[in-house]
Symmetry: C2
Subunit: 160 residues, 2 copies
């Protein structure tokens, strides 16, 4: 699996990954009805560096990195990762997160923060913990899950 | 003291409050060198509701409210408050926060979250705690304070 910066030609593949994840509405605090164009504008916005994970010419996942705050908070980065439906369980998210940690260190970031990990997303929580993140905050009832109702969201953090 | 929605005619007074606070760089994770125009665009952006606290025709403080996340996270609001230099210690921030809590409840928000309270900002931390907020997360070394170096930032949260 190769992880590289997203190119304009990747937009179709990125949309095929991020739009179903956004529509699903169970893991990201994004408007589940946002248009595909808005989803791409969000994922590829100028404040973000966006990458894709490619295997045999097929894009299996994508992630972004951005400063989580400006000013004195700009040394902490934030990332979002999405894996293509049907490509889960193959280590795509793990590979992207490991890539992002290396990229963040080389870019001078001092920490990585996930602002809003939905607490019911067990697989993600366990993976981030295995990769060195700690749960440093819990936001009680902060996320309206489309099936489970209001559930907690977690703040996860790792010094680099 | 009257707290009301900001009007276009308030821009000058708002700039006089927010620009020095941003330049100071000790309490907000915003670029301390941002232009006044950018500061106003930020404080009055369309995703925010912006208010001013006025006493005897003089604007002593301003705050904004916005959804802290989109989608399933949109029931938690985020606010930022700034008081005019020289008007501190007169209960302006307290009055604005109390106003915001009432406004948030009436707007259907279920919680209020401060994402990044600089831990050295004792007065703010104590005030928010007195008004019902809890420290629900600590981001170790997340803020580069211009004098004190890297200090922690706090996530504070209150269900409404």
């Amino acid at each position: 699996m190769q992880i590289r910066r997203a190119q304009p030609a990747d937009e179709r593949a990125i949309a095929e990954i991020i739009v179903p994840t956004i529509r699903d509405g169970t893991t990201y605090s994004l408007d589940s009805e946002m248009t595909e164009a808005d989803a791409l504008l969000y994922w590829l916005s100028p404040d973000k560096e966006t990458f894709v994970a490619e295997d045999d010419g097929i894009i299996l996942g994508t992630y972004y990195m951005r400063p989580n705050q400006a000013g004195g908070g700009r040394y902490v980065c934030n990332c979002g990762y999405m894996t293509r439906a049907g490509a889960t369980g193959r280590g795509v998210a793990r590979a992207m997160c490991l890539h992002s940690l290396t990229h963040a260190r080389s870019g001078g970031y001092r920490a990585m923060q996930f602002n809003f990990v939905v607490a019911t997303n067990d697989r993600a929580v366990r993976l981030w913990q295995a990769l060195g993140f700690q749960i440093v905050g819990r936001l009680e009832g902060a996320f309206q899950h489309p099936i489970e109702g209001f559930v907690d969201a977690l703040v996860m953090y790792q010094k680099l």
